[in-house]
């Protein structure tokens, strides 16, 4: 036998270019256009337009069977587009620039798509585009959209093979849909059991998770009220036992110590340790938080958390800190004690908690000195400040006037209109001036209960800032000066508290004619929450939890691999059995006969494909006389049942019985 070369080559040894069917190319263009569509918002306008123009043009070329632009044009064009991306983003690395480059290169590739191989490359580029969309959003709608894109993509992949031209009309789509649906069980097994490696494997580009609103690690006048304009969900909470009242729901975020007269910043290095000891007083609250990606390391928890989720530590300020930023939907379980008593201050902490900027805000300092002279007990000083906010004409508003250089003085004595950060900042300043250790705590307060799903939605608009003062007997005590100005903020939420609710985002408003729309939105949120909680939050931690929860005890990735292989083989077996059943006809008569023939075939007595039941069993009887009686009865019975006018149930049972008992 001559050696066979399986590559398709023409006689001259040149690889043959298998042409791409125009119809397949049209499908490809459609699917690529669909895949790029969600990016339209992020890509520079010129690039989006370029892509769609090129795709449309390529479609026209394909339909009219015109010539492609010459090859020498492609390199300059690619360089030009690459340069455009470089100018736009000032880099070619990173998420946004990467996606732009991918889109640009796909457009260029379209212009040199001639043969089958180019088609395959385009399909692969399409899959990469689908994946790139997932970096921006993994919400249900996006996933549904991308699923549809993949259906079309698979159909296009089927059609780029000219040999499958027999599949016409919508048949490729149907086939692709069928394949995807059939692929789902395996995907689920892999999704659940494939050992997840905690990412990232290497440094992520800086802009990997850009564009997320949320708390930051500093606070200046207006920074929190800015957040309150967003009704994006920050996180959702599911309580294990009965939830505490709204006013107790202080979700602790970054704790800020340093004040420069205008801006508060944290001083601590973000270091996490084992839980910081405190004395709980009262009941425990257990809950799970499903956090939206924040691109920050901290996790939100109720005051004060007493347990640590996996890979998480706690700073001395009772702030939960994960080893990686939360870049994915992340679910963690914590329990907290709303009533507590903390320990002593170190000297260093005390000095920090009393530190003031070198100068500025003289009037506030005077006022604090005045209070201190009147009654130096810390409780009295706290009360003095709260009384000031409560009794003077202070307003709680989303749109406070701008403050001058001495921001605290300006606020306390001139504008008297502010959001929570103004009050918290002024309060802590007053406390420190009066000699009471104090600090700012930022986070979220309250939330909205979704009665349909029995969980709490906390939005960015629920962002809040409050103060903590250190009292000798009780340790750190939370004081929320906002509650003195606008008690409704704490009891009923932002809508009830602000003076100008019209400037609130839609989902934060209550009542009114569009209430039903809000209810609809809540239903949608319920769906999203389930999606987040059960699907998106499924990561390495949840995977371990789940498997341990199933009674396997703690599992390592090796055991997980074994579990996956077992599940896959199980599925394979079931699948094979189903197909086997289909091959072994559904009809019991045929099945019995096939079994009988298979048994004899194993003994070297294979039925010829054309051999009828009588002829075959007669041959069996000749070659193996000891089998003559049962074999011939089976042959006769099968013949009568298969080719006779009726198949009485009793006879069918008899045949089944005979074939079961038959031993060759």
């Amino acid at each position: 036998m001559t050696p066979w070369n399986h590559k398709n080559r023409s006689k001259s040894g040149q690889p043959l270019v298998e042409p791409l069917m125009p119809l397949a190319l049209i499908w490809l263009l459609i699917t690529l256009a669909l895949a790029v569509a969600p990016h339209a918002g992020e890509l520079p306008v010129w690039l989006t337009l370029l892509f769609y123009a090129v795709a449309g043009w390529r479609g026209v070329i394909a339909v009219r069977n015109q010539a492609l632009p010459p090859r020498w044009l492609l390199l300059p064009l690619a360089l030009l587009v690459g340069a455009g991306v470089l100018i736009e983003y000032r880099t070619l690395l990173g998420r946004d620039a990467g996606v732009a480059l991918l889109t640009a290169m796909t457009a260029c590739k379209l212009l040199e798509t001639r043969g089958l191989r180019d088609g395959v490359v385009l399909v692969f580029l399409g899959y990469l585009l689908v994946m790139s969309n997932l970096l921006y959003s993994q919400e249900i709608l996006m996933v549904a959209w991308l699923f549809a894109v993949v259906v079309v993509m698979l159909a296009a992949q089927t059609m780029i093979y000219r040999q499958h031209a027999g599949l016409t009309g919508f048949a490729p789509l149907r086939l692709a849909g069928k394949m995807l649906v059939q692929a789902i069980p395996v995907m689920l097994i892999l999704f659940v059991l494939f050992p997840r490696i905690p990412g990232p494997l290497w440094g992520l580009p800086k802009d990997a998770y850009q564009g997320r609103t949320g708390l930051s690690e500093e606070m200046s006048p207006g920074s929190v009220s800015e957040l309150s304009k967003s009704d994006e969900v920050a996180f959702r909470v599911r309580f294990m036992n009965s939830p505490p009242p709204l006013r107790q729901l202080y979700w602790r975020g970054p704790v800020l110590w340093n004040f420069d007269g205008r801006k508060w910043t944290r001083h601590e290095e973000l270091q996490a340790n084992t839980p910081v000891a405190f004395t709980p007083e009262g009941a425990v609250v257990e809950y799970a938080v499903i956090m939206e990606p924040s691109n920050r390391r901290w996790l939100l928890a109720l005051d004060l958390p007493a347990s640590l989720p996996p890979r998480t530590g706690m700073t001395p300020s009772f702030q939960l800190l994960r080893d990686q930023p939360v870049n994915e939907v992340y679910r963690y379980e914590v329990h907290s004690y709303p009533a507590y008593r903390t320990g002593e201050l170190t000297t260093l902490e005390r000095s920090r908690a009393l530190r003031l900027p070198g100068r500025g805000n003289p009037r506030a300092q005077e006022l604090a000195a005045e209070w201190r002279a009147r009654d130096p007990r810390p409780e009295a000083l706290v009360n003095a400040a709260l009384t000031l906010f409560r009794e003077q004409a202070f307003y709680y508003t989303l749109t406070p006037p701008l403050l001058g250089v001495n921001s605290v003085d300006d606020f306390l004595f001139r504008t008297r209109q502010g959001f929570c950060e103004h009050y918290a900042s002024a309060f802590v300043f007053l406390m420190r001036s009066a000699g009471v250790p104090a600090r700012i705590v930022t986070g979220y307060q309250g939330g909205e209960r979704n009665a349909m799903g029995d969980y709490l939605i906390v939005r960015q608009a629920d962002a809040h800032a409050w103060a903590e003062v250190w009292l000798p007997e009780r340790g750190w005590v939370r004081v929320d000066p906002t509650s003195a100005v606008a008690p409704n903020r704490i009891h009923e939420g932002l809508y009830a508290a602000v003076a100008d609710p019209g400037s609130l985002p839609f989902l934060m408003r209550r009542g009114g004619s569009s209430e039903w729309l809000r209810q609809l939105a809540l239903s949608w949120d319920l769906l999203n929450n389930s999606w987040n909680e059960w699907v998106l939050a499924y990561g390495p931690d949840r995977q371990k939890e789940l498997l341990s929860g199933l009674g396997f005890g703690p599992v390592d990735w090796g055991e997980m691999t074994i579990a996956m292989i077992v599940a896959l083989s199980g599925f394979g077996l079931i699948f094979t059995a189903l197909r086997w059943r289909r091959r072994f006809a559904r009809d019991p008569v045929a099945r019995s006969w096939q079994r009988f023939c298979a048994r004899l075939a194993r003994r070297g007595l294979a039925r010829g494909p054309h051999e009828g039941p009588l002829a075959f069993t007669e041959r069996v009887a000749m070659q193996r006389p000891e089998l003559a009686v049962p074999a011939q009865e089976i042959g006769k019975l099968y013949g009568a049942l298969r080719y006779g006018p009726v198949a009485p149930a009793a006879a069918v049972r008899r045949l089944q019985q005979l074939t079961r008992r038959f031993r060759a």
């Binding site: 006969w593 054309h610 009828g612 039941p613 013949g639 080719y643 006018p645």
Partner: protein, 310 residues
């Protein structure tokens, strides 16, 4: 289960078998052909027992038997009969020819001229004879056994293909095996034995049996199989032409009769396979690329090519 009628058919097979030794398969085929209301063509060398087979069958079934020896000078009227003027009555009186019998042995049919042949074949086809504008039905049952000498001889007129199609089956008798031959040599004269053979079946019973054939059940999988055979013969390129729809019907009819003869109320693939060579052998011709293969080989290839439905 078996009705007396089926016992009788068995009895006929045994009776004929006592005269024609060692040829049970041919006897059964001939009887199936008769039951299926078809006509039989026996192609064999002289002296193989063609005549005896026909005679014995007629005897056992109690059928009115006529033998026509075909020669080149045989005229259609010699077979069909003619109107002759009788002077006494001053009118033409129809004198029926030998064809007005229930079982006819048309011996050496290829010796007659095509014109005479076609007179017989037309009568076979239509079960009636039209002479001088008057149509006369042939007796019931009407069964023709024609014999043909396959050896190429001068002055013969082999039946054209279109006429061969009128015969349901074509069989060969072949030489008897050693045992049968010995018995033949030792035993008494066949013709004498034939004379003593009892009539095993009445024409009414035969008619009943013929009616039963039509009632033999044919299941869908069998039709699938049959169609696959037909399709293969047409598409495989091994045959010139392939089997016609008429051939398909003939095959089914013959298989039904064969099944009845084997005491079955339904047709098995084996029945089809058993009658297939006899039914299609004279209807198929090797395709241009298979000229070197005999028709029998091709038919057995046809059988092997089609797997049975499960």
């Amino acid at each position: 289960m078996a009705s007396p009628l089926e016992d009788r058919l068995d009895w006929v097979v045994r009776q004929v078998g006592s005269i024609i030794l060692g040829k049970e398969r041919a006897i059964r085929l001939a009887l199936s052909c008769l039951l299926a209301r078809g006509h039989l063509l026996i192609e064999d060398l002289p002296g193989m027992g063609k005549t005896t087979l026909a005679h014995t069958l007629a005897r056992c079934l109690g059928l009115h038997y006529q033998r026509i020896q075909f020669t080149s000078d045989l005229l259609p009227a010699d077979i069909l009969g003619a109107a002759v003027y009788e002077r006494q009555r001053e009118t033409f009186i129809f004198h029926p020819g030998p064809i007005f019998a229930q079982l006819i042995l048309a011996d050496e049919i290829n010796r007659a001229t095509p014109k005479t042949q076609s007179a017989l074949l037309e009568a076979m086809e239509e079960d009636q004879v039209t002479i001088e504008g008057e149509t006369r039905p042939l007796p019931e049952p009407f069964f023709v056994i024609a014999t043909q000498n396959p050896a190429y001889q001068i002055g013969t007129f082999p039946l054209p293909e279109s006429q061969l199609d009128r015969f349901l089956m074509r069989i060969e008798l072949g030489y008897p095996d050693v045992k049968a031959e010995r018995f033949l040599l030792e035993g008494e004269d066949r013709r004498e034995a034939l004379g003593r053979l009892p009539v095993s079946m009445t024409p009414a019973q035969l008619h009943e049996a013929q009616a039963l054939v039509a009632g033999i059940h044919v299941a869908p999988p069998l039709l699938d199989y049959l169609q696959a055979l037909l399709t293969f013969s047409r598409e495989s390129g091994r045959f010139r032409g392939g089997l016609s729809p008429r051939a398909g019907l003939a095959l089914l009819r013959a298989a039904r009769a064969w099944a009845l003869l084997h005491r079955r109320g339904h047709v098995l693939p084996e029945d089809v396979q058993a009658v297939l060579p006899a039914v299609v052998g004279h209807r198929l011709h090797p395709g241009d690329d298979h000229l070197e293969q005999s028709t029998a080989d091709l038919v057995s290839q046809l059988l092997n090519a089609i797997p049975l439905p499960v």
